[in-house]
C-alpha cells in the first residue's frame, strides 16, 4: 500500500515525537514542531503508538493513494482538497483508492500533520523515524519528500471505522468522514498577536529590568531567517547589563537565547543539543504548538507564568489528549 508523491510541497518531512536518549551524543531531538497536532492526528487514525506523520509546511504536496486509506489532517489549515472538495481537518477521513489529495492556500497556522492508519513504513534510526536533514537521518532517506517518492504505509489490524467503509461504499465521493471532530485548537491559531507563555530562564536575573520588560511587554515578529532549528525574533533588542561569559550547556525545545546583538532566538525541534548564549526564558511547553504554527512575519507577545503554573498547564494538556483518545476509543467500540 503506497502513497505516491506527485508534487512534494516546499518542505514535507516525516516526523514523530522525536529522537530521545541521544542528546549526550550531540544528536538533536527533531520530531514534529507541533507535537499536539501530530499526536491528535495519530489518535484519530487509531495508531496505537507514536507513528510518524507527514509534517507539511506552508505549501503542501500532491499525494496519490493507491488503496483505500484512513488518514487524519491536524494543525495548520493548508486547504486540503480531493477532486476540488474540501477535506475536513481534525477528523478521520477514509480516502478512496486512486484519489489525489492536494493542498492549497495557507489559511491558518503554517504546519499541517497528516497521519495514516498503520503509519509510514520507514526504518527507525536511533529509535525514531523523525527526519533530521542536517545529518541526513531518519524519515525518507534523511530528507524532505521529493517528486515520485513512494511512501509505504505500515501494517494495521482491523478496520477501525467500519461505518466509514460502508459510507464510502454507498457514496460516489472520493472520501468519507464522520460527523464528529476533535477540538484541535484551530481557533487559537488565528490570534494576532499570538500569545505565548514563558517561564523565567536560567539567566533571567542577569538581564536588566529594561530587557526583561522588553521581552514581556512588547511585540515581536517571526524573522524571515527562521526554520525548524529556531525562530529568530524581530523587535526590541534584549541586552544584558554587561556581556555574559557563559560556558556551553544543554538547551531545550522553547529555550529563548539571546546572542550578542540582542535579537532573541527561540530554539525549536531541530535545535542543537547545547548552546552558549544566555537563556533569558523558556517557552511553556503547553504553548509550543501555537508557536510552531507561526510563520515569518507573524506577530507574537510573551506572557510570564511560574514553573508550577506551566507544569500544571502541561499536565492538563496531557489529560486533554488522554480524553481525546478515550473519547475516540469509546466512540469506536460503540
Amino acid at each position: 500500500m503506497n502513497i505516491r508523491v506527485l508534487k512534494p510541497g516546499v518542505l514535507t518531512t516525516l516526523q514523530d515525537s522525536g529522537r530521545n536518549g541521544y542528546q549526550h551524543y550531540g544528536v538533536p531531538v527533531s520530531g514534529a514542531m507541533d507535537l499536539f497536532s501530530h499526536r491528535v492526528a495519530n489518535i484519530l487514525v487509531g495508531n496505537p503508538g507514536d507513528e510518524a506523520t507527514l509534517e507539511i509546511t506552508l505549501q503542501g504536496p500532491r499525494l496519490e493513494f493507491d488503496q483505500d486509506t484512513v488518514i487524519a489532517i491536524c494543525g495548520g489549515d493548508l486547504s486540503p482538497t480531493i477532486g476540488g472538495a474540501e477535506v475536513p481537518e481534525g477528523k478521520a477521513v477514509r480516502v478512496r483508492a486512486g484519489s489525489v489529495l492536494d493542498f492549497g492556500a495557507c489559511r491558518a497556522g503554517c504546519r499541517a500533520y497528516l497521519a495514516a492508519r498503520g503509519g509510514f513504513d520507514v526504518p527507525q534510526v536511533m529509535g525514531s523515524r523523525s527526519t533530521y536533514e542536517t545529518a541526513q537521518l531518519g524519515g525518507m532517506h534523511g530528507r524532505a519528500l521529493k517528486k515520485d517518492d513512494r511512501l509505504r504505509i505500515g501494517e494495521s489490524t482491523g478496520d477501525i471505522y467500519p461505518d466509514l467503509d460502508a459510507k464510502l461504499a454507498r457514496s460516489r465521493r472520493a472520501f468519507a468522514f464522520p460527523k464528529w471532530a476533535v477540538n484541535q485548537h484551530i481557533e487559537k491559531l488565528g490570534r494576532t498577536p499570538q500569545v505565548v507563555r514563558i517561564i523565567p530562564g536560567r539567566h533571567w536575573e542577569a538581564f536588566p529590568a529594561k530587557a526583561r520588560d522588553a521581552l514581556t511587554e512588547t511585540e515581536f515578529r517571526i524573522a524571515p531567517d527562521s526554520n525548524r532549528m529556531g525562530f529568530r525574533l524581530d523587535g526590541a533588542a534584549i541586552e544584558p547589563e554587561k556581556p555574559l561569559e557563559i560556558l556551553s550547556e544543554a538547551v531545550t525545545f522553547g529555550t529563548i537565547q539571546v546572542p550578542p546583538g540582542g535579537k532573541p532566538i527561540v530554539l525549536m525541534a531541530d535545535r542543537q543539543t547545547v548552546g552558549g548564549y544566555p537563556k533569558i526564558a523558556e517557552v511553556a511547553s503547553v504553548d509550543l504548538h501555537l508557536l510552531a504554527q507561526l510563520k515569518p512575519g507573524d506577530r507574537l507577545r510573551f506572557e510570564l507564568v511560574s514553573l508550577a503554573q506551566a507544569q500544571a498547564l502541561w499536565l492538563a494538556r496531557e489529560q486533554e489528549i488522554m480524553t481525546i483518545r478515550e473519547a475516540i476509543e469509546k466512540h469506536l467500540s460503540e
Binding site: N20, G21, Y22, Q23, H24, Y25, G26, V27, P28, V29, V125, M126, T134, A135, L137, I199, G201, R202, L247, S248, E249, A250, V251, T252, F253, G254, T255, Q272, T273, V274, K279, E282, V283, A284, S285, L307, A308, A310, Q311, A312, W314, L315, E318
Partner: protein
C-alpha cells in the same frame, strides 16, 4: 573538595544540575561519572541526560514523573538524594581513544598557515597536536562532534575570517584554544590541520558515536598511504 551541586529548572520539562562555574578537568570527570551512573538506572520519566562543561542537564516527561507538589519538585527530591549518595563514589578512569590522523597536505589544508602564524614548521604543529591527551568535555554542534579541551597554547589559532561552506567529513581542526573532528560534512570556521579515516558518527551503530563525554583522546599521526588503506578498508 567540590561544592555541592545546584539544581535549576530549564523550562517545565528539563533541569540543570550545576556542579561548578569554571572549566576544570576534575569537575568534568565528576559530571561524566554522574551522567554514566544516572544513565545506568535513570529515574522514571527522565528521557535525556546531557553533560556539558560545568553542568548536567536532565530532560524529563512531567506526566510520567507526576506526584509531588509539582513534577519538578518531585524530581529534584529524587535527584538530591541521589547526588548525596554519589558524593563519595570513586571516579572511574575514562576510556582512552586513539584517533589516527594524516596531517597536512590535501587532507589538512590549513596546517601550513597555522604553522606560519606561530613561527613553527608544519611538522612541529602536528607533533605538538599529537602529543597532548585531550579530554572530551561534551558533544554537540552536530551528532558526534566532541568538544576537546587543553589544546597546547603554542598552536591555539583564532578561527578563520570566512568559514568554509563545506568541511570534509573526518577533518581534524583547530578553532581558538579548542580542537575537534568534524563528524559530518558541515560548514565550519576552524583551521583544518589533518583528517582521520575513522568514522566519528555511525547512525545505525549502538552507540552511534566513537566518543563520549569523559573520554580521553590521543591523535596518532599516520601517513597518507595508511590513511588511504584505512579509508579503503572502511568502505
Amino acid at each position: 573538595m567540590l561544592p555541592n551541586p545546584r539544581l535549576i529548572p530549564m523550562g517545565d520539562r528539563a533541569l540543570v544540575i550545576e556542579f561548578g562555574d569554571r572549566l576544570d578537568p576534575e569537575l568534568s570527570a565528576r559530571i561524566a561519572a554522574a551522567a554514566q551512573h544516572l544513565r545506568a538506572s535513570p529515574p522514571p520519566g527522565v528521557l535525556d541526560i546531557v553533560p556539558a562543561y560545568t553542568t548536567l542537564a536532565l530532560h524529563y516527561d512531567p506526566a510520567i514523573i507526576g506526584a509531588g507538589d509539582t513534577p519538578y519538585e518531585a524530581l529534584i527530591e529524587q535527584i538530591e538524594a541521589w547526588l548525596h549518595a554519589q558524593a563519595d563514589v570513586q571516579l572511574p578512569p575514562g576510556r582512552l581513544v586513539e584517533i589516527p590522523v594524516c596531517y597536512g597536505g590535501g587532507l589538512g589544508e590549513d596546517l601550513e598557515e597555522v604553522a606560519r602564524q606561530h613561527g613553527l614548521t608544519p611538522e612541529e604543529v602536528a607533533t605538538i597536536h599529537a602529543s597532548t591527551d585531550y579530554r572530551v568535555y561534551m558533544l554537540g554542534f552536530v551528532p558526534g562532534f566532541a568538544y576537546l579541551g587543553n589544546l597546547d597554547s603554542r598552536i591555539a589559532t583564532p578561527r578563520r575570517d570566512t568559514p568554509r561552506p563545506h568541511v570534509p567529513v573526518g577533518s581534524v581542526a583547530i578553532g581558538g584554544d579548542q580542537t575537534g573532528v568534524y563528524p559530518l560534512e558541515t560548514p565550519g570556521g576552524w583551521h583544518l590541520v589533518g583528517r582521520t579515516p575513522v568514522r566519528m558518527f555511525t547512525p545505525e551503530a549502538e552507540p552511534p558515536c566513537l566518543l563520549g563525554a569523559g573520554d580521553t583522546v590521543r591523535f596518532v599521526p599516520i601517513s597518507r598511504a595508511e590513511f588511504d588503506a584505512l579509508s579503503g578498508s572502511r568502505a
